[in-house]
Amino acid sequence: MTDPTPALTPSQTVGPFLHLILPWPDGPDVVPPDAAGRIVISGRVLDGDGNGLADALVETWQADPDGHFAHPDDPRGTVASAVAGFRGFGRAATGPDGAYAIATVKPGGLPIGDGGMEAPHLDVSVFARGLLDRVVTRIYFDDEAAANAADPVLAALPDPERRGTLVAGAEPGGYRFDIRLQGDRETVFFDV
């Protein structure tokens, strides 16, 4: 097979100095602070030794609670969110211990066209020194057991024992989701 990829620009690492421009004051706020149903998804980004990354950037993208994207490429049409100020996108730099937090609302499930549904999830990009390309993962929710059981992405994981690395655990005020770049409990990362 010949290389079908046109002259795309290669990725390079975000490096350790991303803080000069990438963090936004409102970056972690996918929804305004007073939004109904607001939750905080927090956790740590960890390296192969279990140490937190102090220089990572976590970005999230998600549907609103009704499963809508305010985006022209959504084939169902563009629907304004019922959540005022819903942005869909979150961006948070990690702190000295590798901790990040995103304030959002839980997304709705998404139809996949054959009558099935994807369970509520966020797509996640992690950028950091030492990552020559972003790594992509997903955040699911541990209190969505039935939806998760029917989710085609979770069902297709080559190693079912790793699916737990994609599921955030409920805690007061939100959910906990750690991202392990390497090691025994390495998070599942996707080729998208």
């Binding site: 002259a7 620009t9 421009i21």
Partner: protein
């Protein structure tokens, strides 16, 4: 070569049915590039798992002028005084893999100053801070995908990767495109930089794609009695050749 990802391992051949965006092959650096020492504890050890491109992947944040202020496109005018160094204009087009412009999309940039020092708490090598240079900028592409900013030629700087390691001069770029799949963070280098053959980050890029990271000197972008000019086009992933009616349906 098979459908397997050649630069980063994947667990199984991706099911291309329904892909809206072409999956890059032979373009991006291998995550596992041990000559770049920071990869050793950070690059995932397990193969990447193919993710079908459904609704979350074919949509994405559409940031534009709402994220940009007047001073963001000229890094030489963000302080009361002017920064030291060679003034340059950097311009180009943001395209997708089908040569279509990507209009009205946010481009974020950051860089070291003329001495090769970042204005960052973690950069403390003995080169001077420039009080008149912060090193961060934002621009939005026009309807034709073009962008332009004015800055200072960044300097090279040493880093701890290996003995006497130096990074070639570069400007960091961050782009969204119009879909989660198109997100790209990269670095722009300068033509003729003698450090490029020795840089493990640049060298981690597949050889056939590497030179796309090097800007070219652009007479037409120069400003007489003011600034030199460089051109740097950025190509994001394009639509798959035969998009299906329902790209989320596979």
């Amino acid at each position: 070569m098979t459908g397997q990802r050649v630069n980063n391992r994947v667990a199984a051949p991706a099911d291309a049915v329904g892909d809206r965006y072409v999956r890059p092959r032979g373009v991006h650096p291998r995550l596992d590039s041990p000559d770049y020492r920071s990869t050793r504890l950070r690059a995932p050890g397990q193969p990447l798992v193919p993710l079908p491109q459904r609704l979350t992947e074919i949509t994405g944040p559409l940031f534009g002028t709402d994220r940009v202020t007047d001073s963001d496109a000229d890094l030489t005018r963000q302080h009361d005084g002017e920064p030291l160094g060679q003034r340059i204009v950097v311009r180009g087009r943001v395209l997708d893999g089908d040569d279509r412009p990507v209009p009205h999309t946010l481009v974020e940039i950051w860089q070291a100053n003329a001495s090769g020092r970042y204005r960052h708490a973690m950069d403390n090598w003995p080169a001077p801070i420039d009080p008149n240079f912060s090193g961060g900028g934002r621009v939005v592409t026009g309807a034709d995908g073009t962008y332009e900013f004015t800055t200072i030629q960044p300097g090279a700087y040493p880093w701890g990767n290996h003995p006497n390691a130096w990074r070639p001069a570069h400007i960091h770029f961050s782009l969204f495109g119009r879909a989660f799949t198109q997100r790209l963070v990269t670095q722009m280098y300068f033509p003729g930089d003698p450090l490029l053959p020795y840089d493990p980050i640049y060298q981690s890029t597949p050889e056939a794609a590497r030179e796309r990271l090097i800007s070219r000197f652009d007479w037409d972008a120069t400003r007489p009695d003011w600034a030199l000019g460089f051109a740097f086009d950025i190509v994001l992933r394009g639509r798959a050749a035969t998009p299906t009616e329902e790209p989320h349906d596979d």
